[in-house]
């Protein structure tokens, strides 16, 4: 059913730390790698002149102009936020798009999807991409086939992006439980929602980059101001006059 559950027992989701993310794209690769198994995420012309493909996770990079402080580079992973009030679910005409009552994960039943693309239109975050080969919608599953998979060693029972992140910028857990590690992290670091005015009530939270200290001038700066003297200086003046 594409009606949203009244409430979910758990709210499994990700907490992404923009302070420690270095934009290495390992999460993008790990996500593609894990989810490419089975039916897969297709690519079009992957080794050709105009490559394109289906990804469930993309990492953007921004420069932020900060008043009275040096500009800062922020790398920004973007994937499904598993919203409480997921607009992508209610618009689905077939019931392929649904939110699980037990853990809040938003999934697509590809066997029922007609590939109309309306769910991708409804999502403000660009979390859904249509697979051009299969004609059905793809999205982050929160690695539902890993997190409950008892054939995997316990340390691997978390989303592939979280497991692979070399800087520990990605955290997975239950955001409905105020005592969980992820909820504590959100509380202590001021975790926030993306575009809260859209009314989607995302589960995933982002931790803002920490305030950096004031910028200091490089000790080598005086050496950069090179002035030619002697013969070079004379040449410089002469050539400048020609």
């Amino acid at each position: 059913m594409t009606a949203l559950p009244q409430s979910t027992e758990k709210k499994l989701g990700l907490v992404i730390d923009l302070d420690t993310c270095v934009g290495c794209q390992a999460c993008v690769t790990a996500c593609k790698g894990w989810n490419d198994g089975g039916i897969g995420l297709s690519d079009q012309d992957p080794y050709g002149a105009d490559p394109s493909g289906t990804f469930l996770n993309r990492v953007h990079s921004y420069q932020v102009a900060i008043p009275d402080a040096p500009a800062q580079v922020v790398t920004f992973p973007r994937s499904c936020l598993h919203c409480d009030n997921a607009p992508c679910v209610t618009v689905c005409p077939t019931g392929a798009s649904y939110k699980r009552a037990e853990d809040g994960i938003v999934l697509v039943n590809e066997d029922a999807c007609i590939g109309c693309g309306l769910c991708a239109w409804a999502c403000p975050y660009g979390a859904r991409e249509m697979d051009a080969d299969q004609g059905v919608m793809k999205k982050c599953t929160l690695c539902v086939d890993r997190i409950y998979n008892e054939t995997l060693p316990e340390e691997d029972r978390e989303p592939a992006c979280v497991r692979t992140c070399p800087t520990n910028a990605r955290h997975f857990g239950d955001l409905a439980d105020p005592d969980s590690a992820v909820s504590q992290l959100v509380a202590s670091r001021g975790g926030y929602d993306l575009m809260p005015d859209m009314g989607t009530r995302p589960t995933n939270k982002y931790l803002p980059p920490r305030k950096k200290g004031p910028g200091t001038a490089s000790p080598l700066a005086p050496l950069l101001d090179i002035k030619a003297s002697g013969i070079a200086g004379w040449l410089d003046r002469m050539l400048g006059k020609i």
Binding site: M1, T54, H60, V64, I66, V91, P93, G126, Q134, P208
Partner: protein, 290 residues
Amino acid sequence: MHPAASVILFSTLSGLGFGFLAFLGWGALAPSGWVAFFLWALGYGLAVAGLLASTFHLGNPKNALKAFTQWRTSWLSREAWASVVTLVLLAPVALSDIFGLVLPRVIGQVGGTLALLTVFTTAMIYTQIKAVPRWHHWLTPVMFLSFALAGGAMLSGRVVAPVLLVAVGAVLWAVWRVGDGAFARAGQTMGTATGLDRLGVPSVLDPAHTAGNYLKREMIFVVGRKHAAKLRKIALVLASIAPALVLLFQLGVWGIALAAVLHLAGALAARWLFFAEAEHVVGLYYGARG
């Protein structure tokens, strides 16, 4: 948004078709024999051709029947129901007109009203999407319904048709006037999309991917907007003013045919703009929204 030919054709043709079916159902014409056959076939033809065109933009149309299941929440599912119920309910009315049976007109009136309801459900598919501020406004269903009513009145030769066609023009003007400020009024920026507004003013440093993807092709359509102002004038003249003037000359069936061709061309231009000019907030992540 990407102006897909299938969706533009679908919403324009089926809108005109259901608008005409509404007038036929209400008994605006009361035709009989071959004339009735031709008129009903035109209404059904437009509506069904539009619905068929819409299936071409489905990635996986073999599941199309499943689209009838989620009418409780999904406007697209409601549209599927409304269109099929309308077409089924009006079929005996059409036969009654063609063969001169005396079926109670009330069935036609219910069917005709459902035809307009179908157009409303189509409009709501777009109106409901908050992520596209230009569409998320009550003027969107008003625009779709005004096209259906004016088109239906025009094809059934109502005296009121020129007035309704001029009303379409007024609604289009209002849609553009209100729509141009909609994205700014929604208040979403790259800062709110990333939450980096709490730090400063963000701008794109490097693109997330150098190649294209579904999001950029489908929702971050920017080509052709420089022609938008010109196309607006063309749409306004062809969809509204020109057919209204042609109808005023009262040239009979050929006058209506000429007005219909002009109106349809204008409606297609207006519908192309409806998609091409619609800005999705996901463009903010890519720095494509100013």
